[in-house]
Amino acid sequence: MSLYFRQLAALVLKDLRLELRRRETVAGVLVFVLLVLVLFQFALDLERAEAARLTPGLLWITLLFAGLLALGRAFAAEYDQGTLDGLRLAPVDRSTIYLSKVIATVLFLSLVELVALPAFAAALDAPLLTPGVLVTVFLGTLGLAAAGTLFAAAAVQARARDVLLPLLVLPLLAPLLIAAVHATADLMAGAAVPWSAPWWELLVGLCVLFLGAAVLLFDALLEE
């Protein structure tokens, strides 16, 4: 068991170190998120009352597309440099590779959200910095990373991978969007931390579904 975790940690650290060196993913995605926030203002001309109603939706659409951007890069480096074979040959359980990518993606996106959430909260005057919303954002990010990493491994080896990945992942994540938006809206409206709320259960269920299925199926995606 501890070997598994050590291998997992090693793989995660590898991705973190690469990102620290190049700083492409987090910085790029963060700027994207802030840009979208500005564009929303231009496009929708939001007034105070409307902004409150639309904020959960705007936030989550932005996070979804930002996540897809980050996921597009998850395996890109390995595939383009031919080190995917190195991963295949590594004496680790294939699920370790998958989980390490999920963890790395969640970490990167969390760094982005660290700045994005306050920005959204300020720009849209929305109470987004509550523990409830933070947990919701985490669960949503986890679900997004879980489903996205699985199919990023497939998309990276296909043609038009940037177009294909959203097509594969977004239909699967529709329930995640619905749940995250409604949970955020409820929390913004002042609901107590909804541990037993159906939306959180749905988010957790989705994470379990994607993580569980991926651990079982990832092997098939990484085969020669």
Binding site: A147, L150, F151, A154, Q157, A158, R159, A160, L164, L167, L168, L170, P171, L172, A174, P175, I178, A179, H182, P198, W199, L202, G205, L206, L209, F210, A213, A214, L217, A220, L221, E223
Partner: protein, 254 residues
């Protein structure tokens, strides 16, 4: 050697007796199935247009409902077949599983598209809009996207064995996601109910004639689905044979 080939080409090639017999059996079975499907279709059409009562509020246009709901059921059945064959393929790695999965996905997307279009043609006269975001339509729209994602994944991955594996993963995860999609959409709808009455079922207690008609229509489309599936799988199998023979020929320096 060249002289022999020239001689062969002038006379029409005769198919080996074993192959011809198999083809004949397959064709007969398929023709039987198609015959059954045709009969079922005629019976269903009679039920839809003559036997089923005219709905009080919507009138004759409501008869689209029988086709619309049947197509929905079959869309879900086809996706289940994609799921089951995806599991089978990943488990057994036999290409036949994959062929059925792919065929079912193609047919499924056709059925789903027709479901959506028939819904629009029903919605427009009855509720004034081409589209309503009611639970069933929305869920099935997402199913459409899952089908398309499956087919695009296959199209964009050049290596066919790899494409089959990737598509199988999507088929499995997608199908497992469908109940969750359905749940979330239903909850969403209860929170934001449609302003227009979006009940696609025929009111509180559907008269038994309508239920029977619906069952008959579904059976007819089900048989058609089966026939389409068989023919499509056959096409895939034959194409594989062609590829194999082409390879064998190129190995002999044709």
């Amino acid at each position: 050697m060249d002289k022999q080939l020239v001689l062969q080409e002038t006379a029409p090639p005769s198919v080996g007796p074993r192959v011809a017999a198999t083809q004949l059996r397959e064709d007969r079975a398929l023709r039987l199935l198609l015959g059954l499907a045709a009969i079922a279709m005629v019976v269903a059409l009679y039920a839809i247009f003559v036997y089923a009562p005219t709905e009080r509020v919507m009138g004759h246009v409501q008869r689209i409902f029988y086709v619309h709901v049947s197509l929905a059921w079959l869309s879900y059945l086809a996706f289940f077949v994609v799921f089951a064959c995806s599991v089978g393929y990943l488990w057994r790695r036999d290409e036949r599983w994959d062929a059925v999965a792919r065929a079912s996905a193609e047919i499924g997307v056709v059925f789903t598209t027709l479901f959506i279009l028939s819904g629009a043609l029903w919605g427009r006269p009855v509720w004034g809009t081409w589209w309503t975001w009611d639970a069933r339509l929305t869920t099935t729209a997402l199913l459409w996207f899952l089908y398309v994602a499956y087919l695009m994944l296959r199209a964009y991955v050049p290596d066919t064995a790899r494409a089959a594996r990737y598509a199988a993963v999507l088929g499995i995860v997608g199908f497992l996601d469908v109940p969750i999609i359905h749940m979330s959409v239903v909850w969403w709808r209860t929170l934001h109910p449609e302003p227009t009455v979006a009940r696609l079922d025929s009111g509180p207690a559907a008269p038994p004639e309508m239920v029977i008609t619906l069952v008959l229509a579904s059976l007819a489309f089900g048989l058609l689905y089966l026939a389409l599936l068989i023919v499509r799988v056959r096409l895939e199998r034959l194409r594989d044979e062609v590829r194999q023979l082409e390879q064998a020929l190129s190995l002999r320096g044709e």
